[in-house]
């Protein structure tokens, strides 16, 4: 990518903000529809997430008297910008688009840490006690899942495979480099370490997206959406869009790093759609068949078995499994 126009197109239209937000809203409809089907309901029409956002954009913005107004109103936009850039990089690699996108796995992980951070700061800036509770729970969750998520995704970079008679690993953190290596050596999930890494990453994804059983930070029946409690109108719409963008970005990232040997080919792109949908449906089914756990249980779960499993996956990957 050289021209300024190409950059604008990449960041704002495809596969950046507009594409990721649109796809995310469609996927969030799929979430609600599948949830409804699990509960034997009809569920909302496909236009529902779009209507919700359109409605929120037309509503009044209430800024609480106890808040820090500048931060309260700015943080949603920071969250959306970071999430859509992460989505652009993930989808660029997942689709195997031509042109070199800058930014590797580390950059994407950093960008994906910004939306929870913005929720923490926004919740704290609102001055609402429940917002502060939500912010603190966000912090605990981030502490819990970031390490196993990073370790699980590193399996894609460090997995030792047999290529052309010799042993090799991707040895790069660039998303395209990992995809190119898997095109030669086969999908990372083709090996036990890859399967373990994908399972760990799916659990972390559940927490990153705030889905049950790890929705303690939003918990609308308990702390009334936590950090988002005081948000109304357009800022709330931007946070909703951010969640939609994350729903589009996370599955694409998991697939791009661990399960995307055929990136760039027409067949590979068709398979990518199926894989992303499969990941989303899996997340939704886990969400609908589990209760919310307590925040300390969630932290113990992520720092205990999940981190151990991620470390084991890395070890297996280095041993050539």
């Amino acid at each position: 990518m050289d021209g300024f126009g190409e950059w604008i197109w990449f960041l704002l239209v495809f596969p950046g903000a507009a594409f990721a937000a649109g796809l995310g809203l469609v996927l969030s409809w799929a979430d609600r529809k599948v949830s409804a089907m699990v509960q034997w309901r009809r569920g909302p029409p496909p236009s529902q997430p779009f209507l919700d956002v359109a409605k929120l954009l037309g509503k009044e913005v209430v800024v609480p008297a106890t808040s820090w107004p500048a931060g309260f109103l700015a943080f949603p936009f920071a969250a959306f910008a970071a999430a859509s850039l992460a989505a652009a990089l993930s989808w660029h690699a997942a689709l195997g688009l031509p042109g070199r996108a800058p930014g590797d796995l580390v950059v994407v992980l950093y960008l994906l840490a910004v939306p929870p951070l913005a929720a923490i700061l926004g919740g704290a800036a609102s001055g609402n006690p429940l917002g502060a509770v939500g912010a603190s729970r966000h912090m605990v969750l981030v502490l819990g899942y970031e390490l196993p998520l990073a370790a699980a995704l590193l399996v894609g970079a460090f997995q030792v495979r047999t290529v052309g008679g010799g042993e090799a690993a991707a040895g790069t953190l660039s998303l395209e480099g990992i995809a190119r290596f898997q095109a030669l050596a086969g999908d990372a999930v083709g090996r036990p370490s890859g399967i373990l890494a994908l399972l760990v990453a799916l659990l972390c994804c559940q927490a990153k997206l705030g889905l049950v059983p790890f929705d303690q930070a939003e918990a609308d029946t308990e702390i009334a959406e936590g950090a988002f409690i005081e948000y109304s109108g357009p800022p709330l719409a931007i946070f909703r869009l951010t969640q939609a963008v994350l729903l589009a970005a996370m599955p694409a990232l998991l697939v791009a790093v661990l399960w995307n040997g055929s990136a760039g080919t027409p067949g590979g792109r068709a398979a990518l759609a199926g894989k992303v949908l499969l990941v989303v449906v899996l997340l939704v089914l886990v969400k609908n068949t589990n209760p919310r756990v307590r925040i300390d249980q969630a932290l113990r779960f992520f720092w205990g078995p999940v981190t151990a499993a991620a470390a084991l996956a890395l070890l297996l990957a280095r041993m050539g499994w």
Partner: protein, 148 residues
């Protein structure tokens, strides 16, 4: 006190009314019927209705029960917490007209009077019944949203 003159509801809001439920000293019967609306049999999510946990996210305030003196101020605060455009749906005989609590010593008046103390032009619909059936509540919500 805030006063919004235009009770007009935009089209997008009609397709996505998020509701917040306030029980103002009711007997809990209407609350159960409101919960029924969310069950698979009635499934109001078909119409985009979502029960939200914060009045800041809400478009429609569901009120059930006669408004007791202790609930008068919290009900008004909750209403003013909602961003405009907003509307109220009074569910049950008590919320509409105080029902059996008419002339009782501890009530502040029917919910519409209490809400209009802070916003005279508030958009309000009434669902009578003791308790109203879920079908009636859904019909009332549709009337509230579709009326000019």
């Amino acid at each position: 006190m805030a006063e919004t003159a235009a009770p007009f509801l935009p089209r997008a809001l009609r397709g996505s009314p998020w509701v917040f439920h306030v029980g103002t000293s009711g007997c809990n019967n209407c609350d159960i019927e409101i919960a029924d609306c969310l069950t698979p049999r009635f499934d109001v999510e078909r119409f985009g209705v979502r029960l939200v946990g914060s009045p800041r996210h809400a478009d429609v305030l569901l009120v059930s029960g006669p408004v007791s003196l202790a609930c008068r101020r919290p009900l008004q605060e909750t209403w003013l917490d909602m961003p405009s455009p907003r509307a109220a749906l009074l569910v049950g005989a008590c919320a509409c007209s105080m029902g059996g609590y008419r002339d009782a010593y501890g009530v502040a008046g029917p919910a519409d009077r209490v809400l209009r103390e802070v916003e005279p032009g508030a958009r309000i619909a009434y669902v009578p019944g003791c308790p109203p059936k879920p079908e009636t509540i859904i019909a009332g919500l549709v009337r509230l949203l579709e009326a000019p």
